[in-house]
């Protein structure tokens, strides 16, 4: 098995090339540090060649976590063929890494990704080939142009099974030699023309209104009429298919099996699938913003503000990823160099609602806030962000070791989003959602159905959830949730199932209520007699609790992997505590118990302070060298 390693500066198109070579759909984006982990896949039509995509690095002495990963991997695999992907618009800087690779005796092939306008690039290539015997390919990774030559070369290398010493030490003179080639050939890039769009997006007065307007528009289209209409279409189509199938199954089948199929299989899956359009739409818009280069501008815009509260501009990329998936967002924190800021960012991430929570908010807001549903969903997201920032402020203010940050970030070029990339990424997310529904959600739904329809003595209970296994367990913890207005075990059951995956909250409520469609569940939620019925205050507390309580099990595992189990458990306990207290406060305020709400608010502040100070102490050990501590 031969490994071909893609190496290069950040945002030079390594992952795009990786996707072209392997046919994969790994995440690409127009900002620095999209790839934070090593990815491997076999070359198209060849299982014997493995393509490895490394996180971008500027030099082999890099200090951010993902740079260290790449440098270590290169050191361990320097005998493999290394494809050094360079950006044609910035060859001089890219050659620094090339030189370091050569100095370490690596086998390097240059793939110059030419996405802009350049002059005399062909001359440079000729000279490099002639003077340094280096193999150079000019490609356009985004448009898959000229990648065939590179693929043929890789195949040829495999067939010859030779060690491809492209540049030997005799002619790899020095860094200046490579740069000299650029000067000798009068190599020029057309440079970035003054972009009017940047003037607008980064203007002191317009940048924030534009940001708010852009995200409001995204929310309006996703959660407003367009998303709801598409969701209704999908829901109806699914219901029609089930209606056609069900009569055929129902005949001559036992009661428990009919209940299993109806509630355990079809209803739960259908309830989640109906939200496919909204989830697809939100990912599509995020991909458009990502591909255009806007997210990096947002990181620049908010660095000043975020650095005051212990976060960083780079954290914006992670926080915005958190709207899609908390697990991925935790991984994205790797592009933050400062360990303390990384941990702070990871701590606030669960407050940035992931897409799996979206169906819950959509359903509850449409039931309890009727026409104001869209506005209510927007407010929930905004509340989550504000609470996240509040947590960050407390971390920054009361931590014993304050954080000094040094934000240095290359700004990618702003361009019109690549339709193919956006489409491919959106399709990937939609597919990922469907696979998740068809696998984990499907299996978990069956597990919850079994636990909610059978007693400890394995007796089938068609309509007595209180006597079921999960009902008995929920009843044990139910008193603790009374102050939140949750008086029914089915609600606790849904919240417990949500710890595995947030999509399970809705399917569990459907199972408990015996609803086969979302409209049936909507009716049950507002009915005080039903097993899932909630008052308006209770529903608000439920939304707040779901918004703030710990993310799913995979996010917990990722947190453990990145920061250690102790930190992951502390973070989960902390999230659970603030979710509980904020939910009590919400319930008390809405149901008119103002004094009780104030008492709980004070308790909340006290707990947060205590927790943060205790947690913070071992978190931050780094000192500021850039400003000799003056910034603290």
């Amino acid at each position: 098995m031969q490994k071909i390693i893609l190496v290069g500066n950040p945002n030079t198109g390594k992952t795009t090339l990786f996707n072209t070579l392997t046919g994969q759909s790994e995440r690409v984006g127009n900002w620095h540090g999209v790839t934070v982990d090593i990815k491997e896949h076999s070359l198209r039509n060849s299982n014997e060649i493995i393509i490895v995509d490394l996180p971008g690095l500027y030099s082999l002495d890099g200090y951010s976590p993902e740079e260290k990963i790449s440098a270590k991997y290169i050191d361990e695999h320097k005998n493999n063929l290394i494809v050094n992907v360079c950006d044609a618009c910035n060859l001089k800087r890219n050659f620094k890494l090339t030189q370091q690779l050569l100095d370490r005796g690596a086998n390097v092939v240059l793939a110059i990704n030419n996405t802009g306008k350049t002059q005399n690039l062909e001359k440079v290539v000729e000279k490099l080939k002639k003077q340094f015997s280096v193999e150079v390919f000019i490609i356009d990774a985004r448009k898959c142009k000229n990648c065939k030559d590179l693929i043929n070369y890789i195949h040829k290398a495999k067939q010859n099974n030779t060690k491809l010493q492209i540049l030997n030490k005799d002619n790899s003179n020095s860094m200046h030699s490579l740069s000299d080639v650029l000067n000798e050939c009068s190599y020029k890039t057309d440079g970035e023309k003054k972009q009017i769009i940047d003037k607008l997006l980064l203007s002191k007065w317009l940048s924030i209104p534009i940001f708010i307007f852009a995200f409001m528009a995204v929310f309006f289209i996703t959660f407003g009429s367009v998303g709801s209409y598409l969701s209704e279409l999908i829901g109806n189509a699914y219901a029609n298919v089930v209606d056609c199938l069900f009569p055929a199954i129902q005949n001559n089948t036992s009661n428990w099996f009919v209940s299993f199929l109806k509630n355990g299989v079809f209803a739960g899956v259908g309830a989640v699938i109906a939200f496919l359009p909204q989830i697809t739409l939100i990912f599509m818009f995020m991909n458009i913003l990502d591909d255009s280069g806007y997210l990096s501008r947002v990181a620049f815009m908010f660095d000043g503000v975020l650095s005051k509260i212990g976060l960083s501009g780079k954290g914006v990329l992670s926080l915005l990823t958190g709207f899609g998936c908390t697990t991925s967002a935790i991984l994205v924190t790797r592009n933050i160099e400062n360990e303390c800021v990384r941990k702070n960012t990871a701590m606030v991430l669960p407050d940035f609602s992931c897409s799996a929570k979206l169906p819950i908010f959509m359903l509850f807001c449409s039931v309890f806030f009727k026409m104001l549903g869209f506005f209510a969903v927007f407010c929930i997201y905004a509340i989550g962000v504000l609470i996240g920032l509040f947590v960050a402020i407390i971390l920054a203010k009361f931590g014993k070791d304050k954080v000094c940050q040094q934000f240095i970030m290359e700004m990618p070029k702003m361009h019109f989003p690549n339709v193919h990339n956006v489409f491919k990424r959106t399709l990937y997310h939609a597919k990922d959602f469907l696979v998740r529904v068809g696998s984990m959600i499907f299996v978990m739904n069956i597990v919850v159905w079994l636990l909610s329809h059978f007693s400890f003595t394995l007796r089938f209970l068609p309509s007595d959830i209180n006597a079921s296994i999960i009902g008995v367990l929920s009843n044990v913890v139910l008193p603790a949730f009374k102050p939140l207005g949750f008086a029914k075990p089915a609600i606790i059951m849904a919240l417990m199932a949500g710890l595995v995956a947030k999509e399970m909250v809705i399917t569990s409520l459907m199972l408990a209520g015996g609803a086969s469609t979302l409209s049936e569940l909507s009716g049950l939620l507002i009915s005080s007699d039903s097993v899932v019925g909630l008052s308006k205050a209770g529903a608000c507390a439920f939304i707040v609790f779901v918004l703030l309580y710990p993310a799913c099990i995979s996010a917990f595992a990722m947190m453990s992997k990145e920061f250690g189990r102790k930190f992951a458990i502390s973070s989960a306990v902390f999230q659970l505590s603030i979710a509980y207290i904020f939910a009590v406060v919400a319930f008390s305020f809405i149901s008119g118990h103002i004094l009780f709400a104030i008492m709980f608010t004070l308790l909340l502040v006290a707990i947060m302070l205590g927790f943060m100070i205790k947690l913070r102490k071992p978190m931050c050990k780094e000192k500021c060298y850039a400003c000799e501590g003056k910034c603290l």
């Binding site: 890099g62 980064l202 000043g304 501009g313 040094q406 934000f407 240095i408 290359e410 000799e628």
Partner: protein, 95 residues
Amino acid sequence: MVVFLHNKKQRIINIECMVLSDCKKGFEGEIVAINVQDKNIDIRLLNLGVEPHGKFTVLFEAFGHKTLLIAISGGKVAISDNICKKIEVKPTCKK
């Protein structure tokens, strides 16, 4: 260090040297020295092309002049205020 900021017509009256964090949008200059003590940051700046003798233009100032976006020959780089304070610069346009 003698510092006189440029007038409205972008003409520099008399500036020998100043730090990057004092530069306003539109300022064109040359980096004289980078005085950060953290080797990692120093390397990162050099890797990005922010290096002594390099020409630059301040493109944008973020909120509260906290972070600057500068254009250098290798592209655009955003640098936070605490690092900008450690980068000595002098203007390239003269009276």
